[in-house]
Amino acid sequence: METLISWAIDVALVLLVVSLAWRALASTDLFKAIVLFIAFGLVLTLVWVRLNATDVALAEAAIGAGVTGALLLAAYAKLRATSPDAIVDRAGGISGIGAISLLILILLVAAALGYAVWTLPSDYAGLGKEVAANLDQSGVSNPVTAVLLNFRGYDTLLEIMVLLLALLGAWSLGITIPRPEAAPGLVLDTLSRLLVPLLILVAAYLLWVGAHAPGGAFQAGAVLAAAGVLMLLSGRELPAALATWPLRLALVLGPATFLMLAVITLILEGRVLKLSPEWAGRLILIIETTATISIGVTLTALFMGAPPGEEDR
């Protein structure tokens, strides 16, 4: 009986995820498509929980559904402001025989992928045992944080660099931001006053708890970015004094600290990001704290789309 209920939940979730993805990609209205895509991300969060990937679920909810959704909606609003014609999605560059042959091609790809997944060996051990065996050397007790910041720290270093590069790329394109059309309502204003301190608190909690339970720098940074986005939406602007070098400093604080640690460990330990067990816990906390600040500020800056103070050019 229990397995039956469990299967029913799994089947329902997968049907919901696939149908939401399908409708998000097929609906004619772009705004509807974005909202369906955000719903898709939220249901996917439940799938991660079903697959025992709670860390991933937190990241998906905060970054995949939350920040991506905010970015998409902001881009939609800017697109509409640029040209009303641009938000109309005209159907079909492909029609007739082209569409049918494309469909056959996609079905072949799907069949090949399905076959590849089907024939994957199901009895391989993975790296779970190795991680568990070395966990007490890593300085943290959450295996995912141990992998992210100790065993495969260079992945995370590169990932933070990618985030910074994306922002530099976005800034270098020189998009002008349209001024907000209307003052925020009383509800949004009051809500943001209540929520922003709470969000900062939640971010700090996620950062701290990441050492021994699901959570960590990326989830915390995304929650921090949510606070930043909320402040921007309720009409608050970054003070001009902070928009110059303090903003730049906040952006590079995480990447620079991480990079510095990589160089120091290369000199002292002979290998990039090899953290000695007695220092690992503290070093991970330092990296995660600076990374959280930088991730939060970078994601908020990506939401703005252009360096602050250049709206009027």
Partner: protein
């Protein structure tokens, strides 16, 4: 069929749906959504393979890779959206110039 295999197949399905939409639709915002759905499909296969059966210890390495992937996906999405806005500001349309426009 195990639960993990079921989710992995769903991941392959999501990837295919995304690939189809990426090729069929012309609007760039839709293409960006499609790439994100494809990415989610890949993550789903990875997560399903992290726990191939109920008794095995869940493997944290794919989980860490998915978190890295989610962050890289949001960075790429943000840059793609700004590129789309720049193109729209230049041409008035959020579509890539097709063959018809080149010929005319």
């Amino acid at each position: 069929m195990s639960v993990a295999l079921f989710y992995a197949l769903a991941g392959a399905g999501l990837f295919s749906i995304g690939l189809h939409a990426l090729l069929v639709h012309r609007h760039l915002l839709r293409k960006i959504l499609a790439v994100n759905v494809m990415g989610s499909g890949v993550f789903l296969v990875l997560a399903a393979m992290a726990a191939p059966n109920a008794i095995a210890l869940s493997d944290p390495v794919p989980h860490a890779m998915i978190i890295t992937g989610i962050v890289v996906a949001v960075a790429a999405t943000a840059l793609a959206l700004v590129l789309m806005l720049k193109l729209t500001a230049e041409t008035g349309q959020a579509v890539l110039p097709g063959r018809e426009e080149e010929n005319s």
